[in-house]
Amino acid sequence: MHRARKVWLLALSTAALACRGEGTILELDGGLVEAATGTCRLEIVDAAPGLTLGRTLTSDWEAGSCYELSVTNAGDGRVGWWVLVAIEPAEAAANDRWNHAATALGDGFEEWRGIVASNNVDLDAGAVTTVGACFVC
């Protein structure tokens, strides 16, 4: 009985300490391209101003998916591009990437940027770069 009470107290304390609410301060555009259909889903949530984006499901199998994004600078000047993507499920892990670096933001969100090795950190006006990743989920 005494032990059970201790367990309950510990559980309650842990729950209290782990308790976090969430408030929305910003609505991201989302839906910049049509809905994804792969086993792992990749949504483009936001992107640097002046970019035109395309997304292609290049490979899909029962445990994962590969996507490729075409990023076009539709603006007048040179731009350091970035794209904010969300992968579903959030636990999906990338097992391959090309032409970009990703920063994990939590809950399946990633920020993608160009890399020096691919010479696509900045895009001239009208320039296009193709980047991609495969995920296991």
């Binding site: 209290a16 300490l17 308790c19 976090r20 609410g21 969430e22 408030g23 929305t24 301060i25 910003l26 609505e27 991201l28 555009d29 989302g30 839906g31 889903r41 949504e43 949530v45 936001d46 640097a48 970035w82 904010l84 969300a86 579903e88 959030a90 920063t103 933001l105 939590g106 809950d107 399946g108 969100f109 920020e111 940027r113």
Partner: protein, 389 residues
């Protein structure tokens, strides 16, 4: 109540049967000499009673007190009383002094054996009479002792003149038999006789009432790396019980600087917002006084606080408006210094352990991503004035 006959201070060291006649400076007439109303005839005066056998003598103490009180226009009367006098008899004597035109009476309870030098000064004054007490460190040397009494009594008389509560004294309840006595008390001799059963008289006054506590001042608090510190104001209302237990409610409002949301390396300058926090807290602590005149204050406490976090967009911003709740528990410590008349300067630090926290997030059609994640531990500071009465 008129100033005439405002303060009678009777200082009697614990003990001793009632004894000798009062001594006062040459210029002051005795209340007994007045033909009509003695208080009217002699002006404001105080009575000081000494314990027989005390290192002090009545006459030099009367002269010292007279010097300290001259600018207040108050005349002292000093008298020696028995060193083993019961408290009921002492209070009866003090009441008799009040009826003669005085409205207050002081005496000193001798230092207990375990802490020699730490005597206790009592004051009875007002109508209905109220009893106050404070610790008093008295040196061995009679001249120093005399001077300290002069300074302390002068401060008290000055406070009473200003119709304030006696400075640095805590109110204590009168012994029950005393408290129940009607205001129109019998003459001094009868009063003394009424409490003649010394065996039945309480040895010490009963525990006193709680005091009201009010506080107002600056409040600052941490939130998160993106919004490190906010500034605002806080108000507190509570009570201090006689043993020094403090129970207070706190109300605060803090506002932070402008937040530009950032996700990864991407900033959203078109989504700037402001964030404010409205807090409601409960503090339970223990006030400990220290220092030569017990003007210092330290108060360890536990604080529980609920907080509404409110955010709103800046002009032209696409940020959303919203609100959320957080709850914290944590230790706090207050340092203070008494300024007099119940006012004190106070500085408090709190450690906030957020048991219910709030993330600020960006929402999209596929879910939410956290933009600001406040840590589990934060800090708050409050600095301002507090008033206890």
């Amino acid at each position: 109540m008129s100033w005439a006959g405002l303060v009678a201070v009777a200082l009697a060291l614990v003990g001793a049967p009632a004894a000798s006649a009062g001594v006062e400076p040459d210029a002051a007439p005795s209340p007994a000499d007045a033909d009509a109303d003695p208080a009217e005839a002699r002006g404001p005066w105080i009575a000081v009673a000494l314990a027989e056998g005390d290192a002090l003598a009545a006459e030099p103490l009367a002269l010292t007190l007279s010097g300290h009180l001259a600018d207040l226009g108050v005349t002292p009367t000093v008298e020696a009383r028995g060193a083993d006098e019961a408290i009921a008899r002492r209070i009866a004597w003090a009441r008799a002094s009040l009826r003669e035109g005085a409205e207050a009476a002081f005496w000193i309870a001798a230092a207990p054996a375990e802490s020699p030098g730490e005597a206790r000064l009592f004051l009875l004054h007002g109508d209905p009479a109220r009893l106050y007490a404070r610790p008093l460190a008295l040196p061995e040397d009679p001249l120093e002792r005399q001077e300290i009494l002069g300074i302390v009594i002068r401060g008290l008389v000055d406070a009473l003149l200003g119709r304030d509560a006696p400075l640095d004294m805590e109110e204590v309840a009168l012994p029950e038999a005393e408290a129940e006595r009607p205001a129109a008390a019998p003459p001094a001799d009868a009063a003394a006789a009424a409490v003649g059963d010394e065996g039945a008289a309480p040895a010490e006054p009963a525990p006193p009432r709680a005091r009201l506590l009010l506080g107002l001042g600056y409040a600052g608090s941490s939130f998160a790396g993106a919004l490190p510190w906010g500034h605002g104001a806080a108000l507190e209302l509570g009570a201090i019980t006689r043993p020094g237990i403090v129970v207070a409610g706190e109300l605060g409002w803090i506002i932070h600087g402008v937040l530009t949301p950032t996700l990864g390396g991407a900033a959203y300058p078109d989504a700037r917002l402001r964030l404010g926090r409205a807090g409601l807290g409960l503090r339970v602590g223990y006030a400990i006084r220290f220092g030569a005149r017990r003007l210092g204050l330290v108060e360890p406490a536990l604080v529980a606080r609920g907080e509404a976090v409110i955010w709103w967009p800046q002009a032209g911003s696409r940020a959303l408006r919203g609100a959320g709740m957080r709850v914290a528990l944590g230790p706090a410590a207050t340092l203070g210094v008494e300024l007099g008349r119940g006012l004190a300067l106070a500085l408090r630090g709190e450690l906030d352990l957020w048991v219910r926290n709030l993330d600020l997030a960006a929402h999209s059609s596929v879910g939410s991503v956290v933009v600001v994640r406040p840590p589990r531990v934060g800090a708050s500071v409050l600095a301002g004035l507090r008033y206890a009465r």
